[in-house]
């Protein structure tokens, strides 16, 4: 590992902490949202909040694909999987997400056949091997995973597979950010833009945040220094009164995204008029469904889907955590009734969920580094 040190260099982290602290205007509070759950994970894992002055607060955003799936959709999926001769395939992350009557694991104990797959493409092999069964892929995720579902559908179409379909739950990040910007609960100063989603959509879709809402956005990588560097770039913009979209992760994220991926999504899927997000409620044009051209692969058309809206458990405050209004430990059931072993809410299920990340890494007693101490004028 000869290259890694430059992303981990402790001296550089302390130097960035000092530079960030120096940019704080006395008396001003800064709230920066990291949209992506992968960033949340890095922040807690490496205790990055200790490199920031008290005035700079990180707020965790909705970018955890498993976390935003509402309970009703989990129930719908289990209903689909319960139909005769159906094999459902799903990413492993989804298996423990609670629906109103239990998770996929619980459903399998009752007799459904929900199989974990690494890739949607794995579903095609299962479909080929089981020509007398219908294989339904439980598609979830933001623009990071939507292209893989799209490419799998295109492959199935080319092969003429007739027993493969998709239960499409793909969501798009920009409408969720807009919903948060429009929410009266929270006043944010800037955004740490998601890394992998931006690999697909590029940086342009965030321009409205800078131009219409006057907030800076910096797309960031996943190393601790990437995130500190991005916070520094946001603070520089704020100190200069600028709001622009900048790309800290240009070594991976092209400004215009991945055009082949966008073409594949556009060929096979279209925007839904609205979609329910856990905690955020219904958001217009925030999710994808299968295009009519591929109706033969749309599980929502092939089967009856109940589509019943199910309220979250009363005790669960995932919605507030997903909007950044509550910190994980401020939730009433955090760490007591709700743990990674027995999650009540989705934020505790996924490793990218803010609650799981904080439960696993965030509770250690740490001290703010000296460079991040701002002398109070």
């Amino acid at each position: 590992m000869r290259f890694v040190d430059e992303f981990r260099d402790a001296d550089k982290a302390h130097a960035l902490a000092a530079k960030i602290a120096a940019l704080c205007e006395p008396g001003r509070q800064y709230k920066l949202m990291e949209v992506c759950g992968g960033h949340t994970h890095t922040i807690y894992k490496h205790g990055l909040e200790d490199y920031l002055p008290e005035a700079v607060q990180l707020v965790h955003g909705p970018g955890c694909p498993v976390c935003v799936i509402p309970m009703g959709r989990v129930d719908d999926a289990i209903h689909l999987a319960s139909q005769p001769d159906v094999i459902m395939t799903s990413f492993g992350d989804m298996m423990r997400v609670p629906g109103s009557g239990g998770s996929f694991f619980d459903a399998n104990a009752e007799g459904t056949n929900i199989r974990m797959v690494y890739s949607p493409l794995d579903s095609l092999k299962i479909a080929r091997q089981n020509p007398d069964k219908q294989v339904v892929f439980m598609a979830i995720g933001f623009e990071t995973t939507a292209p893989s579902t799209a490419m799998t559908m295109l492959r199935a179409a080319r092969e003429g597979l007739t027993n493969f379909s998709v239960f499409c739950n793909h969501v798009t990040i920009v409408p969720a950010i807009k919903a948060i910007l429009d929410s009266p609960d929270l006043r944010l100063d800037g955004f740490i833009g998601p890394g992998h989603v931006s690999t697909v959509i590029g940086c342009r879709p965030y321009e409205f945040i800078a131009s219409q809402y006057g907030k800076p956005v910096v797309t960031a990588g996943f190393e601790p220094l990437d995130i500190l560097q991005s916070i520094y770039m946001l603070m520089v913009q704020l100190s200069q009164g600028r709001s622009e979209v900048e790309n800290q992760y240009s070594r991976v994220v092209p400004w215009d995204g991945n055009q082949a991926a966008l073409r594949a999504i556009n060929e096979t899927m279209e925007l839904r008029p609205y979609f329910e997000w856990r905690g955020l409620g219904f958001i217009s044009h925030s999710a994808l469904k299968v295009r009519e051209k591929y109706a033969a692969m749309d599980a929502e058309l092939l089967f009856q889907v109940p589509g019943v809206r199910v309220a979250d458990p009363k005790a669960c405050q995932c919605g507030e955590v997903l909007k950044g209004v509550l910190k994980p430990w401020e939730c009433k059931v955090f760490g007591t009734a709700c743990t990674p072993e027995t999650p009540i809410g989705t934020c505790m299920v996924s490793p990218e969920g803010a609650c799981a990340a904080y439960y696993n890494f965030g509770r250690m007693n740490r001290n703010r580094v000296p460079e991040a101490q701002v002398s109070r004028a």
Binding site: V4, V117, L121, T145, S148, T199, V252, P351
Partner: protein
């Protein structure tokens, strides 16, 4: 699921040019490179893999950093590698 795993391209499938064999931490599996059709990778190049698809080309330095990051996060990465190991892409 959202983890991007770096892999080194070993060979392109002779009959299906959108498939490539990659090496991820010693695990060799087939992945799909169709999303890089505009700038296809060649053996020896590194890609960032999401759920069986190469989503971007990266350099070796970035690959090393990404790998160390993944190894540091523990269980979630082990689950991802176990899932990749069990993958059936062909």
């Amino acid at each position: 699921m959202c983890l991007g795993i770096p892999g080194e391209v070993i060979e392109i499938h002779p009959d299906q040019p959108d498939l490539a064999k990659v090496d991820v931490s010693g695990v060799r599996r087939m992945i799909n490179i169709g999303l890089l059709v505009d700038d296809p990778p060649v053996p020896g190049e590194w890609v960032l893999i999401h759920v069986g698809f190469a989503l971007s080309k990266i350099d070796e330095r970035e690959a090393a950093a990404a790998m160390e990051f993944l190894e540091g996060i523990g269980q979630a990465y082990e689950d991802e590698i176990a899932a990749l190991r069990a993958s059936l892409i062909e």
